[in-house]
């Protein structure tokens, strides 16, 4: 799709002089200063990518909503987050526990029995959804976390792809 064209590179470069390069350098510094990438983003991306060797299907963030928490404890709110992939919709609700961890209730659509892993920076928790597609992690440490829905028949190779979400901050 991208023709490799060294001549094109040369032509493009020929049009730049020292002043242009300094201007581009200045522009880069300005945007680095005024609209910097969050410093922890690459780390979160690396965390989310630590699943090499797997066949994966990427679930995109489809919606996120903050609801007033019924527990009404301080500023704590309940979040619902929806992820969509080609084969699956994953919806989760995140509530704060009193001990500082969070509870995650989730639903898979279409409903199905699947093994679901919650990877956190310290740990990895695994639960199984019921026939209605419901699953729950009672206590998840706060911080970076990523959901992975295992292939239906993970015992056999080629049985399906894992569906993974981006890393999110709980």
């Amino acid at each position: 799709m991208t023709p490799s064209d060294p001549g094109g590179i040369d032509r493009a470069d020929e049009l730049l002089d020292e002043v242009d390069l300094e201007l581009l350098d200045g522009i880069r510094h300005i945007f680095q200063a005024t609209d910097p990438m969050p410093a922890d983003l690459p780390e979160r991306i690396r965390f989310a990518l630590a699943l090499r060797g797997l066949e994966i299907e990427v679930a995109r963030l489809a919606a996120e909503e903050h609801l007033p928490s019924l527990a009404a404890r301080g500023a704590e709110r309940s979040r619902t987050i929806t992820f969509d992939s080609d084969s699956l919709t994953i919806m989760i609700k995140v509530d704060a526990n009193l001990d500082g961890t969070v509870r995650v209730d989730g639903w898979l659509a279409p409903p199905q029995l699947r093994e679901i892993e919650m990877k956190t920076s310290t740990d990895s928790l695994t639960v199984t959804s019921d026939e209605q597609g419901r699953f729950a992690f009672a206590r998840v440490p706060r911080g970076t976390a990523q959901l992975m829905v295992r292939p239906e028949d993970s015992g056999h190779s080629g049985a399906g792809r894992s569906v993974v979400t981006p890393a999110l901050i709980l």
């Binding site: 991208t2 300094e22 994966i56 990427v58």
Partner: protein, 201 residues
């Protein structure tokens, strides 16, 4: 040569393409470290691409994660630094469109290019510390067309050997990024020259 400005150091990395190609090859063979290095190197560019497309910071973060996750499935078809940068820029733009198009948020695309910049009025010094020279430059950028602003913003973060690939991905035939970028830079230089003439030195 050794004490040249950062731009020269950055521009003349003869081994940039080779190094990235090696990292891509290692990543394809399962090296998390190599993939991590690529993430570190190219995420700042993709951040600017996503933000120049008008995304909020949180949407931009999500889009970057999606793009890198998708790369894992596409590594087999990517062998050169130029192909990698091109694929990443294109995919970031597509994912950004996808998010913008989801009518949940109305984002005026082009007018938002410089929205993250303080307005340059009194008091903005407290928000962002930029030296005077940069302040003049940034005010000049603000007078360029949205297309030029976006182009220069992205190009400023592209490793030079990958310009041609990115030009193609930005919808400009290879080679034409030169003149297009040249026009934007030329306008910028005219604006800066006018500003310097008008200022008391």
């Amino acid at each position: 040569m050794g004490d040249r400005t950062p731009v020269t150091v950055r521009a003349n990395q003869p081994d940039h393409s080779e190094r990235i190609a090696r990292l891509v090859s290692a990543a394809r063979q399962g090296s998390e470290g190599a993939l991590g290095e690529i993430v570190t190197e190219l995420s700042p560019l993709l951040w600017q691409v996503a933000r120049a497309a008008g995304l909020s910071t949180s949407d931009a973060e999500d889009v970057l994660q999606t793009v890198w996750l998708r790369l894992v499935a596409h590594l087999d078809g990517i062998h050169t630094s130029a192909a990698l940068t091109g694929w990443l820029v294109t995919t970031t733009r597509r994912e950004a469109w996808r998010v913008s198009a989801a009518a949940r948020r109305q984002v005026p695309a082009d007018s938002e290019v410089l929205s993250a910049l303080p307005d340059g009025g009194p008091g903005s010094e407290e928000q962002v510390i930029i030296d005077d020279q940069r302040r003049v430059l940034w005010q000049a950028i603000g007078q360029l067309s949205p297309r030029c602003q976006k182009l220069l913003r992205i190009v400023a973060f592209v490793p030079r050997p990958d310009y041609a690939a990115v030009a193609a991905e930005l919808g400009m035939p290879t080679g034409s990024i030169g003149p297009t970028r040249g026009r934007c830079l030329a306008k910028l230089r005219v604006l800066l020259a006018g500003d310097l003439e008008g200022s008391p030195q």
